[in-house]
Amino acid sequence: MQIMAHIKTGDGIVLLLGTLFTAWLSATLWQGGVADKAIIRQGGKIFSAVPLSRNQIISVPGPLGISQITIHNLQARIASDPSLRQYCVRQGWLKQAGEIAVCLPNQVSVELSGSNKRYDSLNY
């Protein structure tokens, strides 16, 4: 009650605008962007780039065996992989642009990318 006495009408407006501004900032700066494409690499070279709109299972041969990549409902994941520790499989579904799952032993990676790539060469 006493706190409210110190907030005048304009203060309330400023507070509201500040909250909206902060929300807008987090929405624009923290969103990875909508992904529309999965780039699959094998041995450092692009194996294939497939749209996320079509559900499919892609088999990628590597030095250890075959990695299976599932694309379903605008998401992608590595469903099975012959790697020992299964890190890339456990990573689960990739949803946003910029997310990447890498199976180093089998030299396979899946990266989601949007229409505008957010990263520049400085990042790598």
Partner: protein
């Protein structure tokens, strides 16, 4: 060694005593001689600014002891003093208090001329700029809370700009912006409320003393 030193000191003080007792006018004037030393005549306003800056300095030293989850996220308690000074004595005095506090705080905390010092300086300059504009908002609707929130946003904007231009010229910095913005919003509001509270209390105090004075006379 210590004995000798103290002996010498004793002797020195004794000599001084003697000199003082024998001819005080021979010792004293040389210190206050305007030709050999620079004498500053601080006005009452200077004293007032210094007192307020000292108060703000105390708050920033206190704040330095509070652990922060992310470098740069601090409550900025010293700004409460700046806000009160702005409301009661105007922008010029507030700018003096704010800048003096930053320089003295840098010296006291050992960060003078380090990146941290320049970060607070750029933040303060941006805040002061925004405060200079926002103080012209109609007082009927906008109080210290508005000033505080606007200044807090200006503060992080100034800091992040300097970080980007000077320290980390990388887009990845954008990921931290929302965190700083949330901190600015929260701490800006809280500091503004505290400043408003003190200003109100002052008003009540002044009113009370005035009524007392009226009652006496």
């Amino acid at each position: 060694m210590t004995v000798l030193t103290t002996n010498n000191q004793d002797r020195g003080s004794r000599i001084e005593d003697r000199a003082g007792s024998v001819a005080p006018h021979l010792v004293r004037p040389s210190i206050l001689d305007p030709r050999s030393s620079i004498l500053l005549h601080p006005s009452a306003e200077d004293h007032h600014i210094a007192r307020m800056a000292a108060l703000a300095l105390g708050l920033s030293v206190l704040e330095a002891a509070i652990p922060s989850p992310l470098p740069g996220v601090k409550p900025g308690l010293a700004n409460i003093v700046t806000l009160i000074v702005l409301a009661r004595y105007g922008w010029r005095t507030a700018a003096w208090v704010s800048l003096l506090r930053i320089v003295a705080g840098g010296l006291l905390l050992g960060s003078f001329l380090t990146p941290g010092f320049f970060l607070s300086l750029s933040g303060a300059l941006c805040s002061l700029l925004v405060l200079g504009i926002s103080q012209h908002l109609p007082q009927r609707w906008f109080g210290p809370v508005s000033h505080s929130i606007l200044a807090a946003f200006a503060h992080i904007a100034g800091q992040l700009l300097l970080v980007y231009l000077w320290l980390i010229p990388h887009v990845g910095l954008l990921y931290l912006v929302p965190v700083f913005a949330v901190a600015a919003l929260i701490f800006g509001t809280v500091n503004g409320l505290i400043a408003a509270h003190f200003l109100d209390e002052n008003k009540i105090y002044h009113r009370d003393t005035e009524t007392q004075r009226e009652a006496i006379t």
